[in-house]
Symmetry: C2
Subunit: 337 residues, 2 copies
């Protein structure tokens, strides 16, 4: 990383911390009013799910997307909270679906409070997020937001369809991650711009930026699943493999593999994936066939495309916000959890 | 039932069938556009969940609530579909939570397609319903709708809190059912009136009608859980007892019970509720202490209050719709499934 990037990352960390504080404040105040008179257990479950040390990347994107289109008033933190609500709702439901034990180094909501409480708390957050987006951006924003939610569900179904199938290509992979991760991040950026009164060109630019950031984020996430340190990511290394999720390192390795290696890769995915030594063997193959390297290059390319999408905002006036949005995209490549 | 009521019920059945057809048509056309390009399994799960022979009472209420405020164009069927979407979303999630095997005489969605598909399909319907309500009634309607959804979740938490506690009173019972059942039905009626441009007085009248109809509906549902025929309701008789749900027949019986009977009732709920003979013993006690009779009277009183709330619409012009809404309330007392 060069000196300019390092400078940007330092500035980004400071702004991200400020925004996270203000968004958490907005969430607490919104919950206090929305949950007035509600069952104490519902309140507890929601607080546990929401205040467990998330990175608040989606709220930060919402705030900066609004800011770069010229709107910086306090309501933006409530809008930002809506995206965190939806994000946490999907995490809670996903953890129920995956029977996950942990999330962010703590017990998953469903594990701690039971499946019923987790499904219901997710539904509550879901409804509240729609409520806020509708209130703050009207039916135009709600339309974008609900389409993104529908796409997320569709992405999960697509992913289920491809479980254990090491024969899928990049096209199928990117179709899944565009829906699963890209859609909410792109909608966050687009709605941030819409909220600020950005014109269609600005909304489209932020949408493209969000799509690329989301895709890069997921590619790196999938890489970290193999390369990350369990303590840092809170995930077991090779978790995706065990669940049969075929991600970019595998697809890229398949493209370089000879007949025998292709057969072995397919057999690893369609066989007993929990058998001792299979994950290590897969890791060796992916390394040797350049799967990790190729996935890394793809993430770098996506980040370049994300930054390029910001070009329409490259004026002296918006230099600061522009640099922060670029720094978020670049941060994806240096994160290790 | 007197002759006028019988006449009304016949007319209601005909209108209900017409509305159900048009709402199903609206759902099919909406799904075709919203699900264009989506995973075929998602499409299949949604169609299975939505077209399984529901009574379409919420859509009917939406259509009539709009109609009595003077709006009868085709868009109302799309609005009506939104309420059915949300209703089915909650049924699908509830069945996952309760590990239910069957719903409406068929396998429950979660049982047939697995928990992951069921949770995700519920989320999809949830988002789509918000989308439609926001599009058709703006953020004012969305606000009412999302509050109702939040209340439903709160009602489920309250209900979990009271499981196995035969010491709760009518107040706690009505707090649960107002949230769990009343809120969505009341919001359906209120939003129907709002959609039609009804004034605040009309919206409030429809809200009150919906609250009372919802409460009466739930009281009868709880009665049928003990008295209904399994083939007709699709439920095992005494299911609520086995799940530890303390409903109005029990609460009413407790109020009439002597010390010894109170002790026995409490012991039945806090003990092993699946033990052979316990449900029969409870049934005898509820019968003897007038629990069923008192619950029935309460339902009748709620229906009277629902019809009374319609008074503001009692003009010659709206006689037909008025009579149908009254007939829906009265139908609750004659339904047996």
């Amino acid at each position: 990383m060069n000196a300019i990037s390092e400078d940007r990352q330092t500035r980004l960390r400071a702004v991200a911390a400020q925004v996270a504080d203000r968004v958490e404040e907005a969430m607490r105040s919104d919950l206090a009013s929305a949950l007035h008179g509600c069952d104490p257990l519902l309140v507890e479950v929601l607080e546990y799910g929401l205040f467990g040390g998330g990175k608040r990347i989606r709220p930060l994107l919402a705030v900066l997307s609004s800011s770069i289109c010229g709107r910086r008033d306090a309501d933006v933190y409530l809008l930002a909270a809506a995206f965190e609500y939806l994000h946490v709702a999907t995490l809670i439901h996903d953890d129920v679906i995956d029977h996950a034990r942990n999330r962010r180094g703590r017990e998953a909501v469903g594990r701690k409070y039971g499946m019923a409480a987790a499904i219901l708390a997710g539904d509550w957050l879901h409804a509240r997020s729609m409520h806020l987006v509708g209130r703050l951006t009207g039916s135009e924003g709600l339309d974008i937001f609900c389409r993104a939610t529908g796409a997320m569900v569709d992405g999960e179904f697509l992913q289920l369809r491809y479980v254990g199938d090491a024969g899928i290509g990049e096209q199928e992979y990117f179709a899944v991650i565009a829906r699963k991760t890209g859609s909410l991040i792109a909608s966050t950026c687009t709605i941030g711009a819409l909220f600020a009164g950005g014109d269609l060109g600005q909304q489209q630019a932020m949408n493209r930026y969000g799509e690329k950031v989301g895709a890069a984020f997921q590619v790196v996430d999938d890489l970290l699943d193999y390369l990350g340190n369990q303590q840092q990511t809170g995930k077991k290394v090779g978790n995706d493999f065990i669940e049969g999720k075929v991600t970019l390192p595998v697809i890229a390795a398949m493209e370089q593999a000879g007949t025998e290696e292709r057969r072995e890769l397919k057999a690893l995915f369609s066989g007993d994936r929990t058998r001792s030594g299979t994950c290590d063997r897969l890791y060796d193959l992916l390394e040797r066939l350049g799967g990790f390297q190729r996935a890394r290059q793809t993430a770098e390319e996506l980040v370049r495309e994300a930054v390029a999408a910001l070009q329409v905002f490259a004026s002296a006036e918006e230099e600061e916000t522009y640099a922060l949005l670029a720094a978020i995209a670049e941060y994806i490549l240096v994160r290790n959890k």
